[in-house]
């Protein structure tokens, strides 16, 4: 069934979009990522103009993350306090990131920088996670338990706060800094930042993997809602018809994803996320390294 999108001004297959939304929704519920870094290239591929794809994707992520958070709240796997601290940092970071983005735009070549950013971050994060979770799986098979890090320099910082759900008693400074850094990257790269936030929470803050997913989704809702409003009022690029098609699939997918995630072991979840991140990284790297079939591209004058 073909549907004409009023803002994107293209006609697309409705069932294809429902399916795509569902698929990304499952990943979202499982791993606590928004899925923007997967969905946006897919939307480009089916012919949605890039500006519309990025803006509409933000709106769809609001829906699937909200659906995922509700499922996680029932299982008490959302650390609302930690989420709020990260969110405050994230919003500060996003504001800084927009400034950095505009500065880079004035220098030109912002597209290249975004892509390089993606490849480097995805490669490093995916690689480290993959190695770590592989070790954890081996250890759990041989019966040994991974030694839990007790104390490091992070525990010496002031402004300590108790995060009951995560079982942490740490200073608010590290989560704030993580929030700011992810916010900056998210604004530059045009994504919710879940795939950076999740590993950062696991490895830098030492939060349990099960809590991380729900907490990440919680803060993604606000970041992407903010992005949606920004795009809708300044660029007029949110396509509500496209959003509805994607989010119907997305919210159902998120519910299924959450249930799959709960049944899996933490290290299995981590290794799958690591593989996914590495695949996306590999795809972007090949785009940069190999000669594209079409050397020329068409863009609107004034856009980027």
């Amino acid at each position: 069934m073909q549907i004409y999108l009023p803002i994107a001004e293209v006609s697309v297959n409705a069932f294809l979009l429902l399916g795509l939304g569902g698929l990304v929704g499952i990943l979202s519920g499982m791993f606590g990522v928004g899925g923007g870094f997967l969905m946006t290239p897919l939307l480009f591929f089916i012919g949605i103009p890039p500006a519309v794809a990025v803006a509409t994707e933000a709106n769809q992520i609001v829906a699937s993350s909200f659906s995922g958070v509700l499922a996680h709240l029932k299982r008490k796997t959302v650390d609302l306090r930690m989420g709020t601290v990260l969110l405050i940092g994230g919003l500060i970071g996003a504001a800084l990131g927009v400034m950095v983005f505009n500065y880079l735009k004035s220098l030109g070549q912002v597209d290249l920088l975004v892509k390089l950013c993606y490849v480097i971050f995805l490669g490093v994060i995916g690689g480290l996670m993959f190695i770590e979770s592989l070790k954890a799986i081996r250890q759990s098979k041989s019966g040994k338990r991974a030694p839990r890090k007790k104390h490091n320099w992070i525990h010496g910082l002031p402004f300590k706060m108790r995060f009951r759900v995560s079982g942490l008693y740490i200073s608010v400074i590290p989560p704030l800094i993580v929030g700011v850094l992810v916010g900056i990257l998210a604004a530059i790269m045009g994504v919710g930042g879940g795939f950076i936030m999740v590993p950062a929470m696991i490895y830098l803050l030492g939060m349990p993997t099960k809590v991380v997913v729900g907490t990440s989704l919680f803060q993604i809702i606000f970041v992407t809602a903010f992005t949606t409003m920004l795009h809708a009022t300044t660029n007029y690029t949110v396509d509500i018809v496209l959003a509805v098609l994607l989010l119907v699939g997305g919210v159902v997918g998120a519910q299924i994803g959450t249930r799959i995630g709960v049944k899996m072991k933490a290290e299995q979840l981590r290794i799958l996320l690591a593989i996914m991140v590495l695949v996306v990284c590999g795809k972007l790297a090949t785009e940069l390294l190999f000669q594209p079939s079409e050397l020329y591209s068409i863009g609107a004058v004034g856009g980027h």
């Binding site: 073909q2 549907i3 009023p6 001004e9 829906a63 659906s67 863009g299 004058v301």
Partner: protein, 255 residues
């Protein structure tokens, strides 16, 4: 003597065949295209007749060209190049005016139907319909950018060259069908008809097809421009409602 000569000259001139007055009478299957939610492209049927006061002139046969052009905008064409081992966009050319849609249908091979001078004058062929004024000094092969634009847009049926797509009966009646793709932008689509003989344009006719969004499409589009804040809030409300709805539905099923 002189008077006789001038009379003779006048009679000779009158006896010469005058340039045939041929006019176009045109009909379109639809003068407007409504873009609805389930819009999936549209076929425009062009049919017409040649009106003459005199009989069909001798000489090369009548040929017909029909063009439909969507609204024009300026576009950026970028080219990638390998720099330090990675493929990056290097050169950019701004093409001043390129139609979002352009179709040319002819009654014969393009080169036979129209000569280059007339093409230049009326901007009929696809490369002529695109206007590219100047390229920056450092880019030497500017035409390759225009060619790339034509190649990319032809691939998605936004540019169509339909040779032998116009049928002519008895040098008087003609008809053609042009398919508008589903990815259509709004605006006035200029439709032009040319009659040619021996590569030269002998008559021309121009009209417009009105392409407009209607109903829900119209309403949403207007709202996104005029009440963008409300539109954004509405998008978010739908997202939150859908997220909550799915969660509620699943918890009912699970119990």
């Amino acid at each position: 003597m002189g008077k006789l000569w001038s009379i003779l000259l006048v009679t000779l001139l009158l006896a010469l065949p005058v340039r045939a007055e041929e006019d176009i009478v045109l009909g379109l299957s639809q003068a407007e295209v409504s873009i609805t939610t389930n819009f999936d492209g549209s076929e425009i049927l062009i049919f017409g007749a040649v009106k003459r006061e005199t009989r069909i002139p001798d000489g090369p046969p009548l040929q017909v060209i029909a063009t439909i052009a969507g609204p024009s905008t300026a576009v950026n064409v970028r080219r990638k190049e390998k720099k330090l081992g990675i493929w990056v966009n290097t050169d950019t050319i701004i093409i001043d005016r390129a139609p979002s849609f352009y179709a040319v249908a002819t009654s014969g091979p393009f080169k036979e139907v129209l000569n280059d001078i007339e093409d230049l004058r009326y901007r009929i062929s696809i490369p002529r319909a695109i206007r590219s004024v100047g390229a920056p000094m450092n880019i030497k092969d500017a035409p390759s950018f225009t060619n790339a634009l034509i190649r990319i847009r032809s691939r998605s049926d936004q540019f169509q060259l339909l040779e032998n797509a116009v049928t002519i009966d008895e040098q008087t009646l003609f008809r053609a069908a042009i398919n508008l793709p589903a990815a259509l932008t709004e605006g006035d689509y200029t439709t032009r008809i040319f009659l040619t003989r021996g590569g030269k344009v002998v008559a021309q006719y121009e009209t417009a097809i009105d392409v407009r969004k209607v109903g829900l499409e119209r309403w949403l589009f207007n709202m996104s421009r005029q009440q963008s804040f409300l539109y954004g809030l509405m998008s978010l409300a739908i997202a939150i409602a859908a997220g909550w709805g799915a969660s509620a539905a699943f918890s009912v099923f699970r119990r």
